[in-house]
Amino acid sequence: MGIQTWTFIIVGITFALYIGIAIWSRAKSTKEFYIAGGGVSPLANGLATAADWMSAASFLGMAGIIAFSGYDGSVYLMGWTGGYVLLALLLAPYLRKFGKFTVPDFIGDRYYSNVARTVAVVAALFVSFTYVAGQMRGVGVVFSRFLDVEVNTGVYIGMTVVLFYAFLGGMKGITYTQVAQYCVLIFAFMVPAIFISLMATGNPIPQLGFGSAGEDGVYLLDKLDGLMTELGFTAYTDGTKSTTDVFFITAALMMGTAGLPHVIIRFFTVPKVKDARKSAGYALLFIAILYTTAPAIAVFARTNLMETVQDTPYKEIPSWFTKWEDTGLIAWTDKNGDGKIQYLPGSAVEGKKPEFVEGRAEYGQRKISNPSMTANELYVDRDITVLANPEIAGLPNWIIALVAAGGLAAALSTAAGLLLVISTSISHDLIKKQFARDISDKKELLIARLSAVLAVIVAGYFGINPPGFVASVVALAFGLAASSFFPAIVMGIFSKRMNREGAISGMIAGLAITTYYIARFKLQWIGNPETSTAKDWWFGISPEGFGTVGMLVNFAVALVVSGFTSPPPENVQEIVENIRIPSGAGDAAEH
């Protein structure tokens, strides 16, 4: 059977499974809709959190980012896993004990202020919308890659599926579909990885494989370092970013991870405080399986690419190369006219992507209109690292179809988790808490469902018409979460003295300075572009890493302001006393 047929069959089966789970786990109350009734086992929550966390970018993009940035890619590996240690040790157990539905719930109650709640809602909506726009686009891209449909059609299909189970099941439906989605995505990621590792080194465990030697007895990493330095690249294990920048980016990603509302909210769904700790452990374990495999795939793919293409005549190139050239993920221009491929440092094209024009050039390669002046002849889209794996390893068609299903599972599970945060923010934090305090549970549930529909439509709109800032999702979403929620929640738990004035001014200061920095240095929306280049970065910190500075500013402002204003009232100090003691969490959720 062909790849297409297999893809339709496997994707069809997984979608039927997700919808079946959604019907079986319909939510009947707001508590079920918001936090799955608080009855999810730590293991199931760990699986769901892992699927929620790992997006299309983790599944398809991560290995590619590392393959093309070597040591510099470590910021994502450490940043997106180390945050779970902070979650498990500093946030999750206490927020679970607090026992409400959302992050703004905690901020609003702990800082006895509707202003604080509103700041938190706005930040939560902003972070989630930024993030989800990229996910819906991701769903569309995955569809278009594997099923040969337009990206926009893919977005519509994705919207329909997510809508179905978010509308019916809320958190309950999402949780159990995420459990299924984790199984699909990890299987789809690991099977090709194991085969590739076997092929490259004879070791079936990729994590060990990339530290061992190939058939020629040379360690794989040494070989890759050698290949790269010979051609003028920086050695794979060295990296080009400054130590300061690596430090700050890693920190921003860690604190951002710990402050992302769609991750935090998952820990409200388990029955007890100790379950919250345990499920954070499971979540990181399941995430680590993929995150420790990705750097191995990266090394295999990069080595394979360098060895296969370097100075190889285009006529003799393997078929996967021309296949991905046809989809536009690879482009080759014969700059020196020798008919062979030269893969060298520097971008092969002007701008970000090759612009293909009609017709074929001398050797049958596709023509592009924007080759650059560098000697590098080859453009490679980094997504290819994971996409082309099964073909490079010569795996059967059904495994290629499985990778498609895995990519879709990763994109859908993350989109659904984010959409739930958005709909909860609207129905619970805005409508219920600000405007209609005494609406019945039934009405609130209806509003929650309608908000979910609205959220899907808005997210779909952004997926089809991606705003300019989607490319900066990482810097924005993590920077904002790190500079707003993380400090506010940590101080809310660990300092009894932190008061309303301190927390609000801290959050606003952190958000403001981070937004300013990203708007200026990443998006170039404000300020003179000529004084907003990498040379002008403060202390050499890139916009991706600036969330760390925003976080420090938040802490500093909050501590100073709270020192000059009156301490929080008795009953709030009691809340803090209370969340530090694990027992009695079950009752707290019944509010």
Partner: protein, 84 residues
């Protein structure tokens, strides 16, 4: 649970946190970033040690840290009879 017991429980918790977070900092920011060049002179099979910590080792330690914390806290909760 009276106030002094609460305080003691909290202080022990903070002690665990500071030890575990020190290790957390050391394996990632320490071994993986600040000391990476020094550690890269040491080999672990085909890996340079600093590179290994940045792309593998730190993640393994993170997972371990959480499960160690789970164990420590479960014991502590029992000791102070605040477990469920």
């Amino acid at each position: 649970m009276d106030a002094s017991q609460r305080k003691k429980y909290w202080r022990e918790n903070l002690k665990y946190l500071s030890i575990l977070l020190t290790i957390w900092f050391l394996v990632s920011y320490g071994f993986g970033i600040l000391l990476v060049d020094e550690l890269n002179t040491i080999r672990l099979g085909g890996f340079k040690l600093g590179f290994w910590f940045a792309q593998q080792g730190s993640i393994y330690v993170f997972v371990l840290l959480i499960f160690v914390y789970v164990r420590l806290m479960n014991k502590l909760d029992k000791k102070y009879e605040v477990n469920e």
